[in-house]
Structures are given as structure tokens and as C-alpha cells.
């Protein structure tokens, strides 16, 4: 999952840094991700993992790092499996 997220960030977050060098808890906004780019990341994650982020997750903290995105995806996958 982490590598899938990293790949999506690389393709859609428009970061001026090499995503492969980012720690999983690195702040993506601090790394240069704009609010609009975070939308692209969200849309690509929804397509890749066949999920839809609920309204309560549409906040900065969910998309601020690879780790926070992974945590949200795991929660959604557990909910979908229940």
C-alpha cells in the first residue's frame, strides 16, 4: 500500500522533490503540495483503491503524509470489509 501511495503522490502531487526520498511521515504540504494538487491525489487514490473518502475525511490532516493517507485507507478498507 505504501508504495502505491508513493507512486500516486509522485504522479499527482506535483512535488518539486523526489517522492522516493520522502519519509512516510514527511509533511507533503511542507514539501510543496498545493491544496489543488491534494485533490488530484485524493481522486487518484479513490480510483486506485476503489473507495470514496467520506466527508469527515476531507481535511488537510488526512492528506498531509504518506502515513496519514495509509491510515485513512486502512480504516476505509476495514469499514468496507465489515
Amino acid at each position: 500500500m505504501i508504495e502505491d501511495i508513493r507512486s500516486i503522490i509522485s504522479d499527482h502531487a506535483r512535488l518539486p522533490v523526489d517522492v522516493g526520498t520522502l519519509a512516510i511521515d514527511a509533511d507533503l504540504y511542507q514539501a510543496g503540495m498545493t491544496s489543488h494538487a491534494s485533490v488530484n491525489v485524493m481522486l487518484a487514490l479513490e480510483d486506485r483503491f476503489d473507495i470514496e473518502f467520506p466527508d469527515r475525511m476531507l481535511k488537510r490532516s488526512v492528506f498531509e503524509s504518506i502515513a496519514s493517507i495509509a491510515e485513512a485507507l486502512r480504516e476505509l478498507q476495514v469499514s468496507a470489509a465489515a
Binding site: S35, V39, N40, L43, D55, L58
Partner: protein
């Protein structure tokens, strides 16, 4: 009486790319049906108008100061008045946050030029009840 100001700048090219890569998915998750109608020309969705609306949504988030509350973008809506100017209408969590903050009025101005769109939002607050913004 207090005031809050938010400003944002969006690349029109970034919106054009989102339309190209995500199409309807992008429009449905970010804009209201009315906004999509207002931004549709005979040749399709206009990235300049959409970029101005996205900037307005982000500028509004800056005055709402949501901290850790989820706010869907489409609950912050730019509406075009018959007289020609634009205004903001909030729904759901965005409206709730504005109410909690004591915001009694929102004023919006948008513009686009040279590949960028910008928006400025001024909020008038009856009282400053929250101070958790960035």
C-alpha cells in the same frame, strides 16, 4: 465585530490537467452542479472559471479555519448573481463552521489572468469565538 480575510491563487493549467486526467470525477467531488453549469461553455468545462472557483473555496476555508473538521469542497459554492457579481453560499459542515465562528457575512471577489486565478474572501464576524486557524 471582527473580520477575517482569506486569499488563494490557483494555476489554470493545474485545473486543465485535472479535467484531462479525472474528468467527471474531478467535477463531481469538487464543484456543485450549479458551479459546473456556470463554468460550462459550448466547448466544455472552462478551466479558468473553475480555477477561480477553486481559489474561492480555498480562500473561504482560510476564513472558516476548520482545524481538523472535514469540509467537502462542494459545500462552499460560488454563485453568480443576476446582476453579474459573484457570492458565496455555504452548506453542511461549512455552514456549521461559519455559524460557530459567528460569521454573519461573506464577501467574495475573483479574477483570472496570465494563467492564474485568484480569490479574496472577507468574513464579517459578530464575535470572534474561535481562533484555531493557520
Amino acid at each position: 465585530m471582527a473580520a477575517r480575510v482569506g486569499i488563494d491563487l490557483v494555476s489554470v493549467e493545474a485545473v486543465r490537467q485535472s479535467l484531462s486526467e479525472h474528468g467527471e470525477h474531478y467535477l463531481r467531488r469538487v464543484y456543485s452542479e450549479r458551479e459546473v453549469r456556470d463554468c460550462t461553455t459550448p466547448s466544455g468545462a472552462d478551466p479558468e472559471r473553475l480555477a477561480a472557483r477553486f481559489a474561492a473555496k480555498e480562500a473561504t476555508l482560510k476564513v472558516l479555519r476548520p482545524a481538523d473538521v472535514g469540509i467537502p469542497w462542494f459545500t462552499i459554492e460560488v454563485v453568480r448573481r443576476p446582476e453579474g457579481w459573484v457570492a458565496l453560499e455555504l452548506a453542511g459542515a461549512a455552514a456549521e463552521l461559519a455559524s460557530q465562528a459567528g460569521i454573519t457575512e461573506l464577501a467574495l471577489s475573483i479574477s483570472h489572468e496570465g494563467g492564474f486565478a485568484t480569490a479574496v474572501v472577507v468574513a464579517t464576524c459578530a464575535s470572534e469565538t474561535r481562533d484555531q486557524g493557520r
